[in-house]
């Protein structure tokens, strides 16, 4: 039994206050299963089971690290691409055709019609949680990648840069 020090009294008080179960008395041995030298780890298959669990845990941890690293790299690429579009993309006038608000599972999106190279186009553009709410008929500036006209965005859609506050949501919904 531990000595009744002020520290152990304090611990008991904290446990009582938090309604955590008090530490039990030392227990008696039950029916001991006879293994070679009495240690459970020496029983058949125990070391193997521990090794398997440890290997699986390492695999999961390393897999998680790789996935998260992949996400970070992809988020940076998307962010850079969006930034590039803001700075060097073609700018044309567009009109909001429809707007769908986001929810817990999907991000907001809007359909925008515009004219580029004398061709009328309507594109759906994913928005992020910092984008303004649009209504039908709103005029927006559409940004078009000069090298890839299928890559379009609208000005003001991305309002935060990666690495600044609130940057998680932007890469997640970008692209």
């Amino acid at each position: 039994m531990p000595a009744d020090t002020s520290a152990s009294r304090g611990g008991a008080q904290i446990r009582a206050r938090c309604r955590v179960n008090p530490r039990p008395e030392p227990w008696d041995w039950g029916a001991v299963v006879n293994d070679r030298d009495g240690r459970a780890i020496d029983a058949v298959g125990v070391r193997g089971a521990l090794r398997r669990d440890r290997l699986r845990a390492w695999a999961v941890a390393i897999g998680g690290l790789l996935l998260f690293s992949g996400f970070s790299v992809a988020a940076n690429v998307v962010s850079d691409h969006a930034e590039e579009l803001e700075s060097s993309g073609l700018r044309v006038d567009g009109v909001v055709v429809s707007y769908t608000a986001g929810n817990r599972l999907t991000s907001a999106r809007t359909d925008v019609s515009f004219t580029v190279d004398s061709e009328d186009r309507t594109e759906q553009i994913q928005l992020n949680d910092r984008s303004p709410r649009f209504t039908e008929g709103d005029h927006v500036v559409v940004l078009i990648d000069p090298d890839d006209h299928d890559h379009v965005s609208i000005e003001g859609r991305r309002t935060s840069r990666a690495g600044q506050s609130g940057s998680w949501s932007s890469p997640l919904s970008a692209g």
């Binding site: 938090c18 309604r19 955590v20 179960n21 530490r23 039990p24 227990w27 008696d28 041995w29 039950g30 029916a31 001991v32 299963v33 006879n34 293994d35 009495g38 240690r39 459970a40 780890i41 029983a43 058949v44 298959g45 125990v46 193997g48 089971a49 521990l50 669990d53 440890r54 699986r56 845990a57 390492w58 695999a59 999961v60 941890a61 390393i62 897999g63 998680g64 690290l65 790789l66 996935l67 998260f68 690293s69 992949g70 996400f71 992809a74 988020a75 998307v78 890469p171 997640l172 692209g175």
Partner: protein, 129 residues
């Protein structure tokens, strides 16, 4: 990207979590022998998943414990569903490593954190036939 973000976070949290659990199991397994004890096993619904609970009876005292971080699809693999006796290492009033007799799969079980949980978990087994 969302898959990489969510999967990465899950891996980064659950991997080290399991490593710590294995380390704790190893400490117990190195220090003590296996003991055979009578057990009862039930599964309860916990949100969208299931949780395995065992009642370990030793020296006349019943200790309700919850299986630690065992996924729903792994509950059956523990082999505890169909047994009346299991082998444990550790203090059943705190934390044990448990395995079904003849099974090589190691599972951890912990005590309830609060008195309220202890009463609730105990009632699960009192209701059992």
């Amino acid at each position: 990207m969302v898959v990489a973000f969510v999967g990465g976070l899950i891996g980064l949290v659950s991997g080290p979590w399991v490593l710590f659990r294995v380390r704790r199991q190893r400490v117990l397994l190195t220090a003590e022998p296996w003991r055979s004890v009578p057990v009862q096993y039930v599964e309860i619904r916990a949100g969208n998943t299931k949780r395995g609970m065992v009642l370990i009876t030793e020296n006349g005292a019943g200790h309700p414990l919850s299986l630690v971080s065992t996924a729903r699809w792994n509950l059956g693999r523990s082999g505890l569903r169909d047994v009346r006796e299991a082998q444990i290492v550790g203090n059943p009033a705190e934390y044990v490593v448990i395995r079904a007799v003849g099974s090589e799969r190691l599972t951890s079980a912990r005590k309830p954190f609060t008195e309220r949980s202890r009463r609730r978990w105990r009632r699960l087994f009192d209701d059992e036939p």
